[in-house]
């Protein structure tokens, strides 16, 4: 007999809602709900009426582990917008960006760098880890970018840092360089020289050794900063 025509349909729905319909009986009922829209509609009708608002007093805060496990098991990362497209990201630097930094023991720079160009500061890059701060300088001709880290920061063996330029007019991040350390001097690719201007942003992400495999940032963003001059 179809459940939808069952004289006890209302009673079964009621028992289902309050929870006394158990075991095999409940599974049978649920299977029928899937197969018989009329029966499902009847249950929803009752659910609509017997749906008290729960009191806030019964609420409890779950531990973080529950969410972490769900996120991992359901593979939620696949259903997230890439960080650089997320609204408001650049204002607050997403909290998700974990500073996957290896703070190296002091690496002394013994020798002065050869032929330091004349540079001026264009941006300060900061992240979640306040110990890590990088100041970006640009040469007068706009061709040489110099990064200075407040403390020496060196990538771990399986990772690289990648420096990105987010143009002032928007669009995808452009890769400027793959770095092993955040103290670096680099030549700005010719095509990007004119884009290093006020309103554009610089960002550093952690990538697999050798840089992003996709050409777009894949790892956590550890530093960002807007070009101010």
């Amino acid at each position: 007999m179809k459940l939808a025509n069952h004289p006890q349909l209302d009673a079964l729905s009621g028992e289902y809602i309050i929870g006394t319909l158990r075991g095999a009986a409940r599974r049978r009922f649920e299977r029928a709900l899937r197969e018989e829209p009329a029966a499902a509609a009847r249950l929803r009708y009752w659910e609509g009426i017997v749906a008290p608002r729960y009191s806030k007093m019964i609420e409890a805060k779950p531990s973080m582990n529950v969410w972490r496990r769900l996120e991992r098991e359901l593979g939620l990362a696949r259903y997230r917008m890439p960080w650089h497209q997320r609204a408001g990201f650049w204002k607050g630097l997403a909290a998700a960006a974990t500073a996957a930094l290896v703070l190296a023991l002091a690496v002394p720079f013994l020798a002065p760098r050869p032929s330091e160009p004349q540079v001026f500061q264009i941006a300060q890059l900061t992240g979640k880890d306040s110990a890590v701060q990088v100041v970006a300088h640009l040469s007068k001709d706009g061709r040489t970018l110099v990064l200075h880290a407040a403390r020496p920061v060196i990538a771990g063996p399986a990772q690289s840092y990648e420096l990105w330029l987010i143009p002032a007019e928007g669009g995808n991040p452009l890769s400027l360089a793959v770095l092993g350390t955040l103290d670096a001097q680099l030549q700005v690719p010719q095509a990007h020289v004119s884009r290093l201007r006020r309103g554009a942003k610089l960002a550093v992400s952690t990538e697999p050794a050798g840089g992003s495999p996709t050409g777009a940032p894949t790892g956590p963003v550890i530093l960002t900063g807007e070009i101010s001059t």
Binding site: I49, E59, L74, M81
Partner: protein, 198 residues
């Protein structure tokens, strides 16, 4: 108070399985997990089991959103049913009842009702919803004490007929009758409320 509209929107965004789906599902979790954990805890009494039920329920909700019909169900009630069913299953496979005395609810179903549910008028809700909540409360209060107690304990604590009988110290047949009669009376009462409106 959980807003059905907001929850429905998040369920639909989750169902889209696009780049915003992860975000929407997380927001849904943040919004609803405390309530759903509370419901599971009333049934399971043990924190770790309740969190297990919460986890399983959200995994199921994630999958079920693809089939979720936004016009059919009150989404919070729908989610509550999922977590309750899971909690009841977990309860059946663990010996929860031994550490559970129910003293705070069984002997005082009226007080328990008010702790469990929020009966205050909510002006943001639709007229239908408000009316239904009022009917529910009225009809519950018109039941006989034993029937009401049996229904509330089943709903709130997830007790089976057998557990109910043990807890109330009554024969299984008596308890089953209370549940069945209580539900028949609730149904008759709710339908007569609806008749008046029509």
């Amino acid at each position: 108070m959980l807003d059905d509209q907001e929850v429905r929107k998040l369920l639909l965004r989750t169902a889209a399985r696009d780049e915003g789906a992860g975000e929407a599902f997380q927001r849904l979790y943040e919004l609803c997990a405390p309530l759903l954990l509370g419901i599971a805890q009333r049934i399971l009494r043990r924190r770790e089991l309740a969190e297990e039920a919460l986890h399983d329920a959200f995994a199921r909700i994630w999958k079920a959103t693809e089939r979720y019909d936004p016009f059919a169900t009150q989404p919070v009630a729908w989610m509550a049913t999922i977590v309750r069913n899971r909690a009841i299953d977990i309860r059946a496979s663990h010996d929860v009842s031994r550490v559970d005395s129910y003293q705070d609810s069984g002997d005082d179903p009226e007080g328990s009702l008010d702790r469990l549910f929020d009966w205050t008028e909510n002006t943001e809700e639709g007229e239908d919803r408000r009316r239904a909540a009022q009917w529910l409360r009225d009809c519950l209060s018109r039941l006989e004490g034993a029937e009401r107690q049996a229904l509330v304990l089943s709903y709130d604590r997830g007790l089976s007929h057998g557990e109910l009988a043990k807890h109330l110290g009554k024969p299984l047949g008596t308890v089953k009758t209370w549940v069945r009669r209580g539900m028949q009376n609730m149904r008759a009462c709710l339908e007569s409320c609806m008749e008046v409106v029509r």
